[in-house]
Amino acid sequence: MDVSMLQRTYTDLLTSLFREGILNQQFIELQQLQDENNPGFVNEVVSLFFEDAGRLITELISNFNQQAVDYKKVDAYVHQLKGSSASIGAEKIRSVCQTFREYYDKNDIQGCYNCIQPLKQEFMTFKSKLEALFALEQQIVAAGGSIPMMRH
């Protein structure tokens, strides 16, 4: 595939991520921090998020499967996940965390429980889409092209 095709595919994918609400403006902020002094920044921080969020979601699910759920602990995990997803612009994940915490504040256990599966789903979607995005970046660079920047 030639460079301009790859670049077009990349831009289309990135645009769709914003349009679908998977990413928000904060992601653009991260891209602006990437430069020749910090060339792999976005990939690095998103990879950290994959590990961090993956761990938190595993803990969440495991806690929910206990006989006696420690909701305070669960809420603390969700608070952390909300924070880190907001920091990288993972809008849908952030939003589900927000919804969870609203249910938690109202002591709505069923509401909380109903957020867990969507949270896992949104994380898996986010991970696969961003991995595809980064793979395209690698292909573009390998083909001698530059990664198109989104301007908001």
Binding site: Q26, E29, L30, Q32, L33, D35, N37, N38, F41, E44, V45, L48, F49, D52, H79, Q80, K82, G83, S84, A86, S87, I88, G89
Partner: protein, 139 residues
Amino acid sequence: MASYSGGKSNGGEGSSHQELHVLAVDDSLVDRKVITSLLRKSKYRVTAVDSGKRALELLDTEPNVNMIITDYSMPEMTGYELLKKVKESSELCQIPVVIMSSENVPTRINRCLEEGAEDFLLKPVQLSDVSRLCNRVLR
């Protein structure tokens, strides 16, 4: 320009912009990476630690910190508690402290400002927040 040799100046005359040292405190690995990059992009030297306890340990051994930027919600020692300890210390009280939080709680913000915080930033922190802040706090 005076040479920078690890003297006791607190970002005053002679220190260039590039040599100002910010201590970032956040228990979230993702957020530490983001705030570090934000500050480095703005040309500050950054040390990032994951707790108030480590921040105080560092401040004990490394006198040349020109600003502390800390998350509010951290286990064991909150950003507020760290702020208090810094302001209560005769060696450290001159260092400006900025608090970051993902939650917009007016009573929390007021409490921090009353305790001597320079500013309170809502997360996610952006480049414009950092440049506005550093222009004001670290001239």
